[in-house]
Amino acid sequence: MIIKTQQKLRTIVISILLMLVLAVTGCVGNSSNTNASANILNVNNSSEPGSLHPAKAQGTHESWPLRHLFVGLTMVGPNGKVVPGAAKNWDISSDRKTYIFHLREGQKWSNGDPVTAQDFEFAWKHVLNPATASTYAYQLYYIEGAQAYNESKEKDVGKLKALADKVGVKALDKQTLEVRLVNPTAYFDQLVSFYTYYPVDKNVQESNPKWANDAAAFISNGPFRLTEWKHKRDLKMVKNENYFEKDKIKLAGINWAMVEGENTAWQMYRAGKLDLALPLPGDVVGQLKSQKAKDFKIAPEFSTYFYRFNTTKKPFTNAKIRTALAMAIDRATITEHIAQGGQKPAYALVAEGARDANGKEDFRTVGGAYFTENVEQAKRLLAEGLREEGLTSMPKFNIMYNTLDLHKRIAEAIAGMWKQNLGIDVGLENTEFKVKIDREHKLDYSVSRSGWVADFSDPMTFLDMFTSASTQNDTGWKNKQYDAKINIAKQSSNPVIRMKAMHEAEAILMKDMPIIPIYFYTKPYAIKQNISGVYTPADEYPVLMYANIM
């Protein structure tokens, strides 16, 4: 009887296991990309966009989809140069402070409304309205009256409107937009390609202020239009048949996943659920690079990884000590063996990605390196610096970094290099990102890991961060000469004078060394080989609008 029961049980167990296997195998699907024939591209936006309203968007998770939904007056083209967008051309006054943009005729919003200069004027003033609370409103501060309007505490509607009327943007007619600037801004034609400068359909905004939160109500003027937005799941967009350049758009649509985990997204790419994987996990980058994988690309990125000094804290008050520490880091070891994404060792602040005065050479190429790695010289400088500070040895200090394995490994390596090369004891201090920012603002640190991703392709995006008045300086370093150079560059309309002033400013910064440049970032990514037409400007995520799936 017992044997019989055991046999029965065994049969039951085997049946259950078999059913489980069948259940699992029964769901076998085609793991390859089923959207290829439909010409729909699958990418991962990594996270839910906080907002898809141009006035409220901030950061990559918003800007990447927005780049495909809207087009500004200009855009950055495949060759990295500014090309006409919604504007067919523009005139600049002789003092370079007034721009007249001429819009393309016959442009339409995705709902068929005409795109007018009034939409641009309305959108920009909407960004600047204090009640909108736009994070990136300051990107429009180049425009006359913009800062005064945005920072106004005025509660009286009439007086606030008077301030809005003083903002230097005006639709002269349906096709013409006049913009008056505070200073000649050499990169203004590129600034207007930034998403905060995108237009908004005035009629739609006024009739439904929540239009940007709902795919059914979403109206855009770019190559694609939004058709579906499942929060925290995905965004779907299809080709906008009203786009002025629609004949160049080959894709039928783009699906954007919102998978946070880099590893998970990479596995989705491998399983054929994504056509493009960005960002890639660090170890995967190293692996793909060493394998010379055909679907692996390294695109330039206009951003820099650096360490900040708290220059108000002894002995970091001494420039020789700061320079000694900068010179005693072997950057090639960090880029080749730790970061592994094709990053370039940095010996200056401004990354590669901005053209110099001649419009051909890169600002970095012209400026070159400001220091070299030299352990013997670092030792000498450290000894001199310590003597000047009345110290016999370097006191122990910490490198503060925010929680990320890569930052930790880099900090460990740098601490090891300083120990080996200069005999300095350095501790590591891991903090959560917001705590790090808070402590940087309060100058409650010794050395802190930092990074800066450019907003636009001009060296100014890096350099004005370290002026005495900057709220993001966070080093305690102030230098009048530096401020003066930045001022010259900001007020000059002559590209030669501008670039010269910025090179001189960078030289001052690198002589005083309130920051240590470590490396210039890159954008390593993987893209399926049957996809063509994707391009990657240095200050943007890959542009997919001209992509095609073979």
């Binding site: 736009s134 300051y138 940007a212 925290k232 799941r233 995905d234 996943a257 989705m268 961060m465 993001q472």
Partner: protein, 309 residues
């Protein structure tokens, strides 16, 4: 009974208020700011944003405003997202976390009981060893490792199931299994021990002596009695599964509440932190209240004042 119920309800609400207050205070004590970043935001822009979210008002005012909005079940906006409110987050995310948790619970209980029964019936023989080795693996291997291995092989290498996201029922299988592993192993061990104890009881021998078949003895007398400790533990296991799937949700890119809570903390998104804490606290406090009330109904020896006779 009515008085007791009202009294317990009052305590539940008081507990919830304590949780809200402590969370509110702790949140404001964490260094960092919801809008701070490595960006260049000028002070004027920062002030506009603070005014927009009423964060420029005194903290005490903010506290009472928040309590006021809770009375209307409004959890407020997300400070990081203009497109979605905390209510939206909960409405969209909780059903998914609940689905995942319940599915994992069903897998964990079903297979845990089966493995436990098999292990006990084949005590000290190979099915017992296999079940218990699996149980030990289940307890000692963290679920995120199992999840990663499953994605690597089941989804990517073999292509049997989708690797991540939450769309069709196929997408739910791997995360549910990964989440179920630990409770499955725990239940298997519990069930085995309980079964072995029951099998040694006198009434089982009596049942055998009466000539009952082995199947009837196992199904009617053994499993039924042995499963009681598992049932007792179910509420704890269920609460852990429904609220504890943060890591699995992250690995599988599941848009549940876990990810929202964790990101809320990193972003200092005060309404999101408060909303998720209050929501989960309310559920747990309500469940505890329900269990307490159920006890008085099931076991008359427990008086309405909560004291045993």
């Amino acid at each position: 009974m009515v008085r007791y119920t009202l009294q317990r309800l009052g305590w539940a609400l008081f507990t919830l208020w304590i949780v809200i207050t402590i969370t509110f205070i702790l949140m404001r004590l964490i260094p960092g700011d919801p809008f701070s970043s490595e960006g260049k935001m000028p002070p004027g822009v920062y002030e506009n944003i603070k005014a927009y979210y009423h964060l420029d008002r005194p903290v005490v005012v903010q506290y009472f405003e928040y309590l006021g909005s809770l009375l209307t079940l409004d959890f407020g906006p997300s400070l990081k997202s203009d497109s979605i409110t905390v209510n939206d987050y909960i409405r969209d995310g909780f059903p998914i976390s609940l689905h995942l948790g319940l599915q994992a619970l069903v897998i964990g209980v079903t297979f845990g009981v089966i493995f436990g029964v098999i292990a006990a019936l084949y005590h000290n023989r190979w099915p017992d060893y296999v079940s218990m080795i699996l149980a030990i693996i289940g307890i000692s291997v963290p679920n995120f490792i199992l999840a990663t291995v499953m994605i690597q092989y089941v989804a990517v290498e073999w292509g049997w199931l989708p690797p991540a996201t939450w769309e069709t029922w196929q997408h739910t299988i791997l995360p549910s299994i990964a989440l179920a592993l630990m409770p499955l192993a725990f239940i298997a061990r519990l069930m085995r021990a309980s079964m072995l104890e029951v099998l040694r009881q006198e009434y089982i021998k009596t049942a055998k002596a009466k000539g009952l078949t082995q199947t009837i003895i196992i199904m009617k007398h053994t499993i039924r009695n042995a499963i009681l400790p598992v049932v007792t533990m179910l509420s704890v296991i269920a609460a852990n599964l429904v609220t504890g799937s943060f890591v699995i949700e992250h690995i599988f890119g599941i848009p549940g509440m876990g990810e929202m809570f964790v990101k809320g903390i990193f972003n200092r998104d005060y309404p999101v932190i408060l909303g998720s804490t209050v929501f989960y606290s309310a559920i747990l406090i309500f469940l505890i209240l329900l269990v307490d009330l159920a006890y008085t109904w099931i076991d008359p020896r427990i008086t309405v004042t909560g004291e045993s006779r």
